[in-house]
Symmetry: C2
């Protein structure tokens, strides 16, 4: 593309360096900003710079946070003896969106993956073990993806906690709500028969 | 979505205020920036702010420009007696990308549209007539969309130039290169038969 303007070209390249944004989309965004007044762009840039400069990692749960400890860890109405262990911050958001969970979190920052060179020491596992030992945690819920790497991570953590009294649970797996049986994959369907639950009549 | 962080929420809203970017995409962009170091975000914001604060409108052709007059108007190798009249700056980019045109441009900034309240005085028409009168322009190429509004605009300008010696031409219309006849719309196909051109044998 021929921008015939160094300023435009650089701004387009900046937007296009973001994931999922191509040069055409980037140009559309730049032209949009040009059509707005200068204050709009200033506000846009300020908000993003402000976020990047002040965002921190919660020193308890390693979730992103506006302060030293995050709003979830600071919330005294939440159950402090249950910790949900997740891979990343998007998982925290997904679980929070359900509105079903009132405990705390622990963000590992990934899963153990020898192929990608990620070992236990690269993840926030030590701080999890420390939290369990020192803060009277009764249950950890392993909300980790059911991949080989995820299962390995869960196994590693469970083994480390062998001599601890903490209860370890995993997310229930089965047919999704609204999903039709005929479209469920064999593994999920097979497992959901094997791990069937008593039918509860709600009146 | 529950961000549990004011900083993240504001940055997501900033990205989501751009056209074609929803909240989920905005969150992905914000998380991408968090995963990069602070300098990356600073550079990103700087480039965009710099562009918005220093971009100007060329005072000759009204295209976007890094200086008072744009690089096209300043380019002495271009034919100064031919001016291509377009609606917007994206049209200039599209024509420049063809590499087929070596004249100058004039950006109208839109087309006459009574429904949207756009009259001739809202467009850069007066400055076009002035340019034609004062700078010895021999030909203007009306590269305007073939919509009712576009045709009206072309008609208006042509009428204003009735007593001028300037030659007015329009873009050739017809079957696109690589297009199959059976998929061409009837209007285009009909017109391209009516305006057929002599076959030129190239050896």
């Amino acid at each position: 593309m021929n921008f015939s303007s160094k300023l435009i070209e650089e701004a387009v390249q900046s937007f296009a360096s973001l994931p999922g944004i191509g040069k055409k989309t980037a140009l559309r965004l730049v032209l949009h900003l040009i059509n707005q007044d200068k204050d709009t762009t200033k506000e846009f840039a300020d908000k993003i710079l402000n976020m990047r400069n002040h965002i921190q990692e919660c020193k308890i749960c390693h979730n992103i946070s506006d302060a030293e400890t995050c709003s979830t860890c600071n919330d005294l109405r939440r159950k402090r003896e249950v910790v949900c262990v997740v891979e990343g911050i998007r998982d925290v958001m997904a679980i929070e969106d359900t509105g079903q969970y009132r405990g705390l979190y622990h963000v590992l920052g990934g899963v153990i993956s020898p192929i990608e060179g990620v070992g236990p020491s690269d993840l926030n596992i030590d701080s999890l073990l420390e939290r369990i030992q020192e803060h009277g945690i009764e249950e950890i819920i392993m909300a980790i993806s059911p991949t080989i790497e995820g299962e390995t991570t869960t196994f590693y953590i469970a083994k480390k906690l062998k001599n601890s009294k903490v209860k370890i649970s995993a997310l229930a797996r089965g047919i999704a709500f609204g999903g039709e049986l005929q479209y469920a994959d064999e593994l999920t369907l097979g497992r959901s028969i094997a791990t069937r639950v008593p039918y509860q009549l709600k009146v």
